[in-house]
């Protein structure tokens, strides 16, 4: 399987609920980033967490990183219909070039 796999592949929730997305990866990383893509638009950077960090917050977003398990989670609290989008995790590998390695993405639908 590939670097950066999101789980679940699709999630449908009601407004106000929390949404949790998980990402697993295989190699040692320098950092892990989460991006959002609204339909037909480009990728928007949400948050970057470095390999020596365990948790990071940004507004309603909370990201955790467990390098021993090679996994990360993105929690969106108090979701809104506007959070409906595809979410991707991407990793920057240790000793690799500066390219990001993306997962396939996860489709989040927040129903009003």
């Amino acid at each position: 399987s590939q670097q950066g796999e999101e789980d679940p592949q699709a999630l449908s929730i009601q407004e106000g609920e929390n949404a949790t997305m998980n990402c697993s990866y295989k190699t040692s990383i320098n950092n892990l980033q989460w991006y959002r893509q609204n339909s037909g638009r480009g990728l928007v950077h949400l948050i970057l967490i470095r390999s020596n960090e365990r948790e990071k917050h940004s507004g309603r977003l909370r990201v955790t990183l467990d390098t021993s398990k090679k996994s990360s989670s993105l929690l969106i609290t108090a979701s809104r219909a506007a959070d409906t989008a595809s979410y991707f995790c991407a990793t920057a590998k240790v000793g690799g070039s500066e390219k990001l390695v993306f997962g396939k993405g996860m489709k989040l639908t927040v129903n009003p």
């Binding site: 480009g42 990001l100 993405g105």
Partner: protein
């Protein structure tokens, strides 16, 4: 400040034709990246420029793809001749620092018929 822009937003061409995609990075960003997402698959790296130099082109699928960044500003990605499997969305991104936040453009949707 303007973000990363890409042109065109959509392109429909026939197999065997040539298409050139353009990316204008954020001003002052030395690092420029091309990625591609083929339908249903993950976003995959194509290549990385630092200024006008190709730092990493390990993701370029074959020699039908040619990327340039003359002068270290905007970049072009030419596909010649295009094949059906080249269809997908081509994203460009730029960053100030390596392995930092990459700012993505809206993408160019390429359809080869």
């Amino acid at each position: 400040e303007a973000g990363v822009t890409q042109f065109p937003s959509h392109s429909v061409i026939e197999k065997g034709q040539t298409v050139t995609l353009r990316c204008d990075p954020i001003s002052g960003h030395d690092n420029l990246y091309w990625y591609r997402r083929v339908m249903g698959k993950e976003i995959k790296f194509l290549l990385h420029f630092v200024k006008e130099s190709k730092q990493d082109e390990s993701g370029m699928p074959n020699n039908r793809f040619l990327a340039e960044r003359t002068g270290g500003t905007y970049s072009t990605l030419k596909v010649q001749p295009a094949e059906l499997e080249d269809s997908g969305v081509y994203f460009c991104a730029s960053s100030q620092a390596p392995q930092g936040v990459e700012y993505f453009g809206p993408g160019t949707r390429l359809t080869v018929t």
